[in-house]
Symmetry: C2
Subunit: 291 residues, 2 copies
């Protein structure tokens, strides 16, 4: 029998994961969000749950998709209103991109509460969540991974067990760090090309055939040219994820000037009120006359 | 009847282009280089030519593959020992990665001497030169391009006419600028991954499947991990090419922090005596304990 699942965090990712799990026959015990979640709850025929301890009471598996380190620490608070209240036997699957250290701490607290925690880091976006074709990297115990598998299989096209708690979060931070560098660098190449009077479409085509080729060229190049920046992965998230990687680098004693420059660009977007644009919006900083 | 070709600059690129042209039946009128070129000349049964004016006298088409702006300005000097002496009717095909402005100036001087100049910028490396599978982007008049075509077809897998003089050089500078950013960024991601105790092979595999994927991950990722930096495209060249792009950006009034950071890394390699390593050697700066 399938375990009951509650969803904590009904943003676009969490909502699409809930839809997909509902559609694939998983019993959804309820939805919790700090914002209104009635519409989604109605759509999938599940109740809105209004407190964290009720979430834990209502389901065996709690899938969390929150925004950042602070939100994670809050929902897994030690004492008070917390997912950890009455959590014995529960499995927490945590999908937010947060610091590896936070995943380690959450896993420790979950274990102390007689529960299990697994980080399931997503290297893909909203569309893939809806279609159940996410790229998922998991960190935690093998036992937690195996228990989560029936749920995660229905959400993912690729499911990888990376290692213990915190390990998948490290990989995720690195993926996004490199992706953000490539994105900000691509925006510079296309922006300079336009300033030099080159045909940007031709330039993208040549980039695709040469050493300048990259996944972000495929996903973001045309959007940069056309100023199509509706959000799949926001500039603010990009800045946050590069920040996580840079903090890991600082702790490791490494200087990473490219990662620093990329974070600088995404920070500039946030500071100039464009943090909610898609990461491709970084081209607004490098095309002449857009700034 | 095929036009006679002389080669100016018998470094590894020039030498391989000479071999390939010889092999495909083009008459090689001679080889010119500031260093000894006897071995290559003997191999392909062509004479070594010892002065620039004799090069021009010996062939209808002169293919130049020199190191930088200064070398280009020198071989195309106005007056004195120069390829332009007695150049009427000649076609110069210039393959070095130099500033667009230099190509424009060389074309102007060639026209004044009754000759034609075409830039043929290569977005590939030594192996492709030998196999005749280069990616070639050409800038100049259509007439020069059409005359060069029978030669360039035998050197390339892809041959593109980009536009007037200087235009292909702009595209080339942008390709290499973006490639250098992606390379330096990849080195940061893999270096930090190793410092965090992750399996770098696994990390490369995950990068390849996610938003961190890039052409340089395919060509340089494993070499970065294994410290295999025998040179295909040197760090010094990378620094030079990023410098060309940054100068174009400065003239256009654009600030490109990623390109600047990448140039900084390749400059550091040159300054620390590692400029002749392959560009993948930039990982020596970002893996702990290699510096």
């Amino acid at each position: 029998m399938k375990e009951r699942i509650a969803i904590v965090g009904a943003g676009r990712m969490g909502a699409n994961m809930a839809r997909r799990l509902h559609e694939t026959g998983h019993p959804i015990a309820g939805i919790y969000d700090v914002r209104a979640a009635e519409e989604l709850a109605q759509e999938i025929g599940a109740p809105v749950i209004h407190s964290l301890s009720e979430v834990t009471a209502a389901a065996e598996i709690i899938l969390t998709v929150v925004t950042d380190d602070a939100a994670m620490s809050e929902i897994f608070a030690e004492g008070g209103e917390s997912l950890l209240a009455g959590a014995e036997g529960r499995l927490f699957i945590n999908c937010a991109t947060v610091s590896p250290a936070v995943h380690l701490e959450v896993e420790k607290r979950a274990r102390a509460a007689g529960a299990m925690a697994l980080e399931a880091c997503m290297a893909s976006s909203i569309t893939q969540a809806r279609e159940g074709s996410l790229y998922l990297m998991c960190g935690g115990t093998r036992e937690a991974f195996e228990r989560a598998e029936p749920v995660l299989r229905d959400l993912s096209a690729t499911l990888r067990y990376v290692g213990g708690a915190g390990e998948a979060a490290k990989v995720k931070a690195l993926v996004n760090m490199v992706m953000n560098i490539n994105t900000a660098g691509l925006a510079e190449g296309l922006g300079l090309g336009e300033a030099l009077g080159l045909d940007v479409g031709m330039l993208r085509e040549i980039f695709a055939q040469t050493g300048a080729a990259s996944r972000v060229l495929e996903t973001d190049g045309e959007d940069m040219q056309n100023r199509e920046h509706s959000c799949f992965f926001s500039a603010a998230h990009a800045a946050k994820d590069s920040g996580i990687a840079l903090e890991l680098a600082r702790e490791a004693g490494l200087e990473l000037p490219l990662a620093g420059a990329a974070k600088g660009q995404f920070d500039r977007m946030t500071e100039s009120g464009r943090g909610d644009l898609d990461k491709s919006g970084v081209a607004e900083l490098t095309f002449r006359g857009r700034g």
